[in-house]
Point group: C2
Chain length 389, copies 2
Amino acid sequence: MREVAVLGVGQTRFGELWDRSFREIGIEAGLQALVDAKLSSAQLGGLFLGNMASGSLLDQEQIAPLILDYAGLARRHLPAVRVEGGGASGALALHAGYLAVASGLYDYVVVGGAEKLTDVPDATANQITSATADHEWEVVFGATLPALWALIARRHMHLYGTTREQLASVAVQAHAMGSKNPNAHYRNKLTLEQVVGAGPVAEPLGVFDCAPLSDGAAAVVLGPLETARRHTDTPIRLAASQVACDTMAVQHRHDLTALASTREAAVRAFAQARRAPADVQVAEVHDAYTISALLSLEDLGFVEKGRSGPAFAAGEFGGSGRLTVNPSGGLKAQGRPFGAVGVAQVVELVRQLRGEAKDRQVSGATLGLAQDVGGTGATSVVTLLERAN
Amino acid sequence: MREVAVLGVGQTRFGELWDRSFREIGIEAGLQALVDAKLSSAQLGGLFLGNMASGSLLDQEQIAPLILDYAGLARRHLPAVRVEGGGASGALALHAGYLAVASGLYDYVVVGGAEKLTDVPDATANQITSATADHEWEVVFGATLPALWALIARRHMHLYGTTREQLASVAVQAHAMGSKNPNAHYRNKLTLEQVVGAGPVAEPLGVFDCAPLSDGAAAVVLGPLETARRHTDTPIRLAASQVACDTMAVQHRHDLTALASTREAAVRAFAQARRAPADVQVAEVHDAYTISALLSLEDLGFVEKGRSGPAFAAGEFGGSGRLTVNPSGGLKAQGRPFGAVGVAQVVELVRQLRGEAKDRQVSGATLGLAQDVGGTGATSVVTLLERAN
């Protein structure tokens, strides 16, 4: 299998981008990535785009050719393919782009993720979010995505003694990290008291335990590792890209507090890269809800099952320890434009591995992990990125 | 690049399947394909699913893991990825599955396509259909998908003298073919008078110039060609899979009467397979509208630009000539469950190339072509299938 590298990255600001259309943000991120990769559009072989909700929210399907068209590339008739898996759509697009280059049929591709979520009524956006749960077994009975994660949180608290404050510490760290990220949706800091005292969404989760809905786009250029140095002095090798799935409905799982899809994707990814969790210095994980970050750290193998709460609250993942988690601010502070999230995670890791992350640089990072999750874990994608020597 | 073969095929009946859910039809087609490929689910490496409208119509995203889950495979945590490109979603899923096996990261995958379109109000379904056009440049001004194809038809008539009766002959042949297909949505025959005399949808296109909206699912099993004979006596080689795109809006094209995306995808596919249009004995092409079939035959290289109308009306593609078109009945008679169409085209071609197509067998077929189109041609996928010796 041909080795694949990330040659360039681009990202818009995440947030409420009311003055800019879906196509504009998609193109901005893609062009940034092409410029960063020193790749002319004439060398480009195709586009793989992650997006979840343009059909429901914008009445627009076929958005991969749409972005290609408005980037001025339709006349070259490039292939453009949209990939969807709820909140994991971006990382799934990366997986598809990875397969494209690894197969040898494509040389250089842009993988993009884009989503516009704030131009529609909140009720509509929340309905869309719940479309990633099991419609027939969860949603029609009134379950929403935060309610399902709250159920999981309660069980984790019951089984392992995880506290409300430990959950809150995830959000506090996210906002501290996000305050250093110029692309972040939220750059304000939060205190533990503010998070714990905020209004409830689905108890024990309050407003500040839940990531916002954001507009935003991100893009990376992938190409063969063997020719990567023509494009960048610091090629980042895509050491693994693995997808795993689980039941749609939480109630159908053996263990409420395990993200089995994440565990499996991680096991496969570490096997593919011949590395172990202890080798990773920087990770971007799924903190759409504070509880989802805790489960993720456990199932990725970074901390023993049940120990993530105390470890997080003690600041083990905040930059002083062996592993720094979500230096971008994560979904909680950087923002949550569904389809863009998984691509933005890779953008952040590439900047970290290149040593270009400025104020939020994790020193000496050589191996990074991104984990992107759809719904309550029906889809997980784990990506390992390594600085090529 | 590793060579890829189709090892098994499965398909539900297409039509108004009100008594069966989305998940049921998806699973039926997938299991049929696994049985046909003599593949146990333990050997299966992943699922690639084409679907266009489950988010909009069923409030359900992440439908690839949903199908996996209800097939009883969630416990194995297989990868499952949904791919979307309007009416071309099924063939794009095939392209993604092809890349997966060609790359070597996957060995055996199911590629499925499924869609439920008849359980919702007609107005909703028609809105969804138009979501494959350019929302901001076409749909908000009142253009619908049939109206855009009608515009193209008028131009083709003006430039090349194509007649109303020539358009109608496409539907007449489709129903004649579909009458022999037990899975077809419509098995009644039509006369030229019936098609020409039917009520208008968007003139010159009448009701019988437009394919129906259908429920249905189709699936194929892909695997490495080198081990294909363990699974089947008649492996069908995926000789080419190519995607090309074009502007979303018809008004932005140089030539209204050319499907440039189809032309480019076909050129690339014939180059990949080192074959030419004259080598193809059987083709499944995009007859969502009678005019779209005529354009497709021209841009695939089967007939000179402007000559498709007389050639079709003369019966050149009806089974007596060098090339038989749409022996399944096509979208017009077999039916049009968006995401399933591109996969069903491949199912039909595999049956033809194996010599298992019964009443509708094209004798001696060794090379087949499938062409799947999204919207008015923003996406085209061309697949070449060859009987392996």
